[in-house]
């Protein structure tokens, strides 16, 4: 009886200690990092961009430390529709999922970090898709999430293997992330997390803004804010181009 009480106390003490460590585990120390540019302008010659992030390893040249880097776009609600073999359709709503998700990791991270740690670190594309609260325990949630990720990959907005991370002197990392040409304007974040032996040891989050500029912005704003004028402009453009062609043809 005394032994079992002692064991219980020891277990409580251990769990207490574990709980005391939990905040440290979920909030690892910040690491020094910076983006080469924090604003990307979408102009008419925009065909995608390459985002460059520099991040310093918390443990210098330590070879056991690995990085994972993710570019996460502004969130939007989505609906995934499944056509069953009988021809009927099933729908599943996500109240929020990143519009863009590009991730890359160094080999030691991919080999030694369990999926749940990647989820906890905010580096899992599927887990970033949030369903309605009532669907959180849905048995087929993971299937719907996987379908969402596949569909976004088909659109070129999610990528799981195009981000490259280079190791520079002093443990400094340079990550190159592809921002696709169809990425929507808005506020993005670039997350870099350092891992050792499957555990997070440091992280950083940098803000990136994608804004429309030049003629791209003018036309987009005109179409959204002054639809009537935009409509007249579209008809006028057709008449002008068609008219010029007719005039040239007659000559």
């Amino acid at each position: 009886m005394r032994l079992s009480a002692l064991l219980c106390a020891a277990a409580l003490l251990l769990s207490g200690a574990a709980m005391a460590q939990a905040p440290d585990k979920s909030m690892p120390p910040q690491i020094a990092a910076g983006l080469a540019e924090t604003t990307v302008e979408v102009k008419v010659n925009y065909s995608g961009a390459r985002i460059v992030l520099f991040a310093a390893s918390p443990d210098g040249e330590d070879d056991t430390v690995g990085f994972a880097v993710a570019l996460i776009g502004p969130s939007a609600p989505y609906k995934v529709i499944h056509r069953t073999p009988s021809g009927s359709e099933e729908r599943f709503s996500f109240v929020s999922a990143p519009s863009v998700f590009a991730i890359g990791a160094e080999p030691q991270v991919a080999e030694s970090t369990p999926p749940e740690v990647m989820i906890e670190a905010g580096l899992n594309a599927a887990a970033a898709a949030m369903p309605n609260p009532s669907d959180l325990m849905a048995p087929d949630l993971e299937t719907w999430r996987a379908a969402l990720v596949d569909l976004k990959m088909e659109e070129g907005l999610y990528s799981l293997d195009e981000t490259t991370i280079e190791r520079l002197e002093g443990g400094l990392r340079r990550a190159r992330i592809i921002l696709p040409p169809n990425a929507p304007p808005g506020d993005y974040k670039v997350r870099a997390v350092a891992f050792r032996n499957g555990q997070r040891i440091g992280e950083t989050e940098q803000k990136l803004t994608l804004v429309r500029g030049g003629m791209d912005a003018t036309l987009f704003d005109l179409s959204k804010q002054h639809g009537f004028i935009y409509g007249l402009l579209a008809v006028l453009l057709g008449f002008i181009v068609g008219g010029i062609a007719a005039w040239v043809g007659r000559r």
Binding site: A76, Y78, K79, G227, L233, L237, V241
Partner: protein, 303 residues
């Protein structure tokens, strides 16, 4: 070099887009059809979002129709009186068609109805036209179908007759109005310009000479597509002006070349080629509906 499209939000190769416009414009100038039924799937295949493709093609078709129609106008092959009547019917038909479309959508049968209608119309029209034009070519004539056919006998008894000198017709205004209305109705339900239905209907039902049919069909397509472009741009904001401009530049060049090529062909040869295009379109739809495997999942972004 790539260009970013502000509404479609994708980067495209301007030369490829212009080439698509040229190809479709050529067919438009040759046959007097708008070409939207070819242009929309081509744009979607290239990666343009469907809503933008559907709206922007109308803008391109409008410009190429102006270019193509002007060429036929110079040849005296546009019947403005007949075209205006069909346009009036077409606008009324498209207004009713929008209501029919809403009803079909309400009952959840819009997709099935559109697919079946498309296949039936394309198949029947293409088949009949191919049959007739092959017969005409074999007979050695190669011109227009006979003027006093059994199909047109019923029209002679209709009231409100008017002369259409350009087409050499003296017929009631009811059939052109009715055909325009029916095509407008179908155009609204099927989401196309309706040229591929209008063109054969003008030749076989009204008896319009093939060459006048081409110019007159393009003439009324100008106004119908201008109307659609304005509505889509104003209310949906889905017309991409940069994409439209690229398509137009290619399209107007193609339309002129198409109109010039059309002059070198016999009327029956033109009808046979149009029949083959229509039948190919029907075949593609049958393939899409019944053969091509459909992806099990699709994504919708909520607004």
């Amino acid at each position: 070099m790539l260009i970013h499209l502000p509404i479609a939000q994708i980067a495209v190769d301007p030369l490829i887009i212009a080439a698509i416009g040229t190809g479709v414009g050529f067919l438009s100038g040759l046959f007097g059809v708008g070409g939207g039924f070819l242009l929309t799937p081509l744009l979607i295949f290239y990666g343009v979002p469907p809503a933008v493709a559907v709206s922007t093609q109308a803008n391109q078709v409008m410009a190429t129709s102006i270019s193509g129609a002007s060429s036929h106008w110079a040849d005296g092959a546009v019947d403005v009186r007949l075209g205006s009547l069909m346009l009036a019917g077409g606008l009324a038909g498209s207004l009713i068609g929008v209501g029919v479309f809403s009803l079909l959508r309400y009952f959840g049968v819009v997709d099935a109805t559109i697919s079946v209608l498309y296949i039936v119309f394309l198949g029947v029209i293409g088949g009949l036209m191919a049959w007739e034009s092959v017969g005409a070519l074999r007979g050695g004539g190669g011109g227009d179908p006979g003027r006093r056919t059994r199909m047109r006998a019923w029209m002679r008894g209709l009231p409100l007759k008017r002369r259409f000198p350009r087409s050499g017709l003296y017929i009631s205004i009811i059939p052109p109005l009715g055909i325009g209305f029916f095509v407008g109705l179908l155009a609204a339900v099927l989401g196309v310009g309706g040229g591929f239905i209008l063109a054969p209907a003008m030749v076989y039902i009204l008896g319009v000479p093939t060459r006048v049919m081409v110019g007159t069909s393009l003439f009324q397509i100008i106004f119908l597509t201008a109307f659609v472009t304005f509505l889509q741009a104003t209310f949906n904001g889905t017309v991409d002006l940069v994409l439209a401009l690229l398509l137009m530049v290619g399209g107007v060049i193609g339309a002129r070349a198409g109109a010039a090529a059309g002059r070198k062909l016999k009327a029956a040869q033109l009808r046979l080629l149009l029949a083959l295009v229509v039948l190919a379109m029907a075949g593609r739809l049958v393939y899409e509906l019944y053969v091509e495997p459909k992806p099990p999942y699709r994504l919708e972004e909520q607004t």
